[in-house]
């Protein structure tokens, strides 16, 4: 049955490609979400991501305004532009969510993460670990004759790079905070 002579199953102008910027490329975005600091709000946010099948690369949360009962959740996520838009719209729908900012598109921003790394070793390896830590501006927060605990702050990439270097030198444990991020400027 031909409707207006449109070829059966025609999809040259499909609903998916009406807009060229609707791409399938997976992007990484950092979202800052300001919420009421009330019971269950984190569960709502996490439940949204798990329930709708979105990714969470990292998530941090802490109260930022005690008197105003506000917390800030920083979420690093990945998805196609359409999925990212959905994530933001769905977050905005949650009743105790006040603001959703996409720091990746709203202009330049700074991202920092803190990590603690335990590196065990003796002799040359131990010296090399200390030398590299110095280059990365990681500081020693605990030390025994056979181990160090380094503290490092930086972008997730920098921490990844440092952890990769420490691995052959006796990396035994890593604890990372996840990303905290703010937009630049006033």
């Amino acid at each position: 049955m031909a409707a207006l002579n449109i070829k059966k199953g025609s999809n040259s102008h499909s609903a998916y490609n009406l807009r060229p910027n609707f791409s399938d490329v997976i992007e990484k975005h950092t979202l800052a979400v300001v919420v009421d600091n009330e019971a269950g709000v984190l569960a709502r946010v996490i439940g949204l991501f798990s329930g709708r099948g979105y990714n969470i690369d990292s998530l941090t949360v802490a109260e930022i305004d005690h008197a105003g009962h506000r917390s800030r959740i920083t979420i690093c996520t990945t998805g196609t532009p359409q999925v990212i838009e959905q994530i933001k719209a769905q977050l905005g729908r949650i009743v105790p969510v006040h603001e959703v900012h996409d720091l990746t598109v709203e202009g330049p921003s700074v991202e920092r993460e803190l990590a603690l790394l335990k590196v065990a070793g003796e002799g040359e390896k131990r010296v090399e670990a200390l030398r590299l830590a110095d280059i990365f501006r990681a500081s020693v927060v605990d030390s025994t004759l056979k181990s160090f605990v380094f503290e490092i702050t930086g972008t997730p990439d920098k921490i990844d790079a440092f952890a990769d270097l420490m691995r052959p030198l006796g990396l035994v444990e890593v604890a990372r905070t996840g990303v905290a991020a703010l937009s630049r400027g006033a």
Partner: protein, 584 residues
């Protein structure tokens, strides 16, 4: 006004202050203080249900037919878990309801106490929002906030979990504040630039179509009024989703009928062939779009929705307008009029010629019978005999639901209650009772399938107790008809578990419940049977024995496009490919 009172009394006071006249509920240990307060007042009517799922569907029926929020009250643990299906149903269909649950006392929470369940945890994904109230002083504000959240923006179900010690303790009651809370304020006015862009597109469109949904009904009667004015003034054809039936009258000149999986041929082809698609308060559900990459391939798409997350969720649109349908329609009309009420009359007349060609296919035709009652015929007769009455219709889920949507005509909003998004068998009977409670003198009919009806048939007891004269119009095909249809089309006619075996005698069942029932199996007796049902002053079960193997057409098989509709049994051979078979 602030006053000291117990938490239990606050619940009743807040309901009164919110204008609630009816509560559907079921008592239990964790809500006894509230029931004690209900006992000591006369302003709010309590309807004792037979199962908590029934209470929630009744609240939905009440809400959908009045435009006011519905209220249900249930106990902790099993009471709360029994409410989950109804909550999910209301969430999917954006129905404003408030469910109050009892909870074990605060000092026992987390101890696996008797009838303890993590109610806010369980219902978090199936409510718009929920609250556990741990302090009596916060209870009143929370109750008022709950009404505000349920009814503003995109409506939906909310739940308040109230521990028993919070009900017993005394605190300060606060009356509701005008205009609701400050923290939850969804956008209602649409962006004027986008509205103007839509008007400009509409002025030149050659093949425009309105695709409307439940959002028009949720927005209120004024929205339906504005829609009618706009559609009739522009002469643009209009179709609607299952949820939106009645916002534009079925007798209206521009009405195409329902669209979607079991929608009308002309409606679906208009969607496929249009050059401007104006979505008003619908959500591009998969029952509507069919195969997405072939959905309305040549159209510019506008979407009006109060929920920003509905926009660009599944279908990319060109003109998104976030706002309340009523507000946006008002602005649309204003802008369109101020620009000179322009449409491309000539092109639209040609468009109608094409649509009228499609109409000639007569897609709802079916093979009649002198000896067996065809389900379609039963609905045609029901329509003929009840048309023009003060009538409300609810349905269960299955073939009968789709036939009801195809063959019954709705002239006004809020007259048609059906479970769309969740497709909940067992919705219709309790929903019909909820509707009847709100409209005691109206004719309320539940068009049911025998299998769905059995899922909440215990609520017949509620109907009898409250003398709710609901009419249960059961299209009994002794089959899980919709399942059987899919098995025929998709699973090599292997009818696995799709019979309704050991059915009760519905007439005797009616008698056992203390109401009246009748059975009809001859087309000649059908009219009399329907009239008998309508005239009877009380709840009534009419067991209509219909053709057992009738299939519901038109049908867009899963994974197919609008222009790949099946029109009848002859079309069905190999209609659904392997890809379509994995879809539901």
């Amino acid at each position: 006004m602030t006053r000291q009172m117990t938490g239990a009394k606050m619940v009743v006071q807040a309901l009164k202050d919110q204008g609630v006249d009816t509560v559907f509920g079921y008592p239990g240990g964790a809500v006894l203080p509230i029931y004690d307060e209900i006992f000591q007042q006369n302003d709010i009517k309590h309807v004792l249900v037979r199962h908590e799922q029934g209470a929630v569907h009744m609240a939905e029926g009440y809400a959908r037919s009045t435009g006011k929020p519905g209220v249900a009250l249930v106990t902790s643990g099993p009471g709360a878990t029994n409410a989950v299906t109804g909550l999910t149903d209301a969430l999917m269909d954006s129905i404003p309801i408030i469910v109050l649950t009892g909870q074990v006392p605060t000092f026992m929470i987390g101890s696996d106490a008797f009838q303890e369940a993590d109610t806010v945890g369980i219902t978090r994904p199936c409510t718009k929002h929920n609250w556990l109230v741990k302090d009596t002083n916060a209870l009143a504000a929370t109750l008022h906030e709950a009404f505000h959240v349920a009814t503003s923006g995109r409506p939906g179900p909310v739940l308040i979990d109230i521990p028993k010690d919070v009900q017993f303790a005394t605190g300060t009651y606060q009356a509701p504040v005008k205009g609701g809370s400050k923290r939850y304020k969804p956008q209602v006015k649409g962006d004027l630039d986008a509205i103007t862009e839509l008007v400009a597109a509409l002025e030149t469109a050659k093949r425009p179509v309105f695709y409307t949904g439940g959002g028009v009904i949720n927005s209120g009667k004024a929205a339906s009024q504005l829609l009618r004015e706009f559609v009739d003034a522009t002469g643009i054809p209009i179709t609607s989703t299952l949820m939106g039936l009645g916002s534009y009258p079925a007798s209206g000149a521009n009405w195409l009928g329902m669209l979607g999986m079991h929608g009308l041929y002309e409606a679906n082809l208009a969607m496929h062939g249009c050059d401007l698609l104006i979505n008003i308060g619908a959500r591009f559900d998969d029952r509507i779009t069919g195969r997405l990459d072939a959905f309305s391939p040549h159209s510019k798409k506008a979407h009006i929705d109060i929920d920003p997350s509905s926009i660009n969720k599944v279908v990319r649109v060109d003109i998104p307008i976030v706002g309340d349908v009523g507000h946006v329609l008002e602005d649309l009309l204003k802008v369109w009029k101020s620009r000179g009420r322009k449409v491309n009359r000539e092109a639209i007349a040609k468009w109608w010629t094409q649509i009228n060609e499609w109409k000639k296919v007569n897609c709802l035709s079916y093979k009649g019978s002198e000896t067996t009652i065809k389900p379609q015929y039963a609905l045609q007769r029901l329509e003929e005999l009840t048309k023009g009455m003060d009538r409300y219709v609810t349905t269960e889920v299955g073939q009968h639901q789709m036939w009801a949507a195809q063959f019954l005509g709705f002239e006004d909003p809020n007259r048609w209650m059906t479970s769309g998004g969740l497709g909940t068998m067992g919705y219709g009977l309790p929903a019909s009772i909820g509707v009847q409670m709100a409209h005691p003198d109206a004719l309320v009919i539940n068009v049911a399938g025998e299998a769905s009806w059995l899922m909440n048939m215990q609520e017949m007891g509620t109907a009898v107790q409250y003398r709710a004269p609901v009419k249960q119009f059961i299209l009994n095909n002794e089959r899980l008809g919709m399942v059987r249809q899919w098995q025929q089309l998709l699973h090599g006619e292997r009818y696995s578990q799709s019979w309704s075996e050991s059915l009760p005698d519905f007439v005797k069942l009616a008698e056992a419940f203390g109401c009246k029932g009748a059975k009809v199996d001859n087309p000649k007796d059908l009219d009399d049977a329907i009239m008998e049902m309508i005239k009877y002053e009380g709840p009534y079960i009419l067991d209509v024995l219909v053709e057992k193997h009738e299939n519901c057409f038109p049908m867009i098989p899963s994974g197919k496009a609008h222009n790949e509709m099946l029109l009848g049994d002859a079309d069905t051979q190999g209609a659904i490919g392997a890809k379509g078979a994995v879809l539901v």
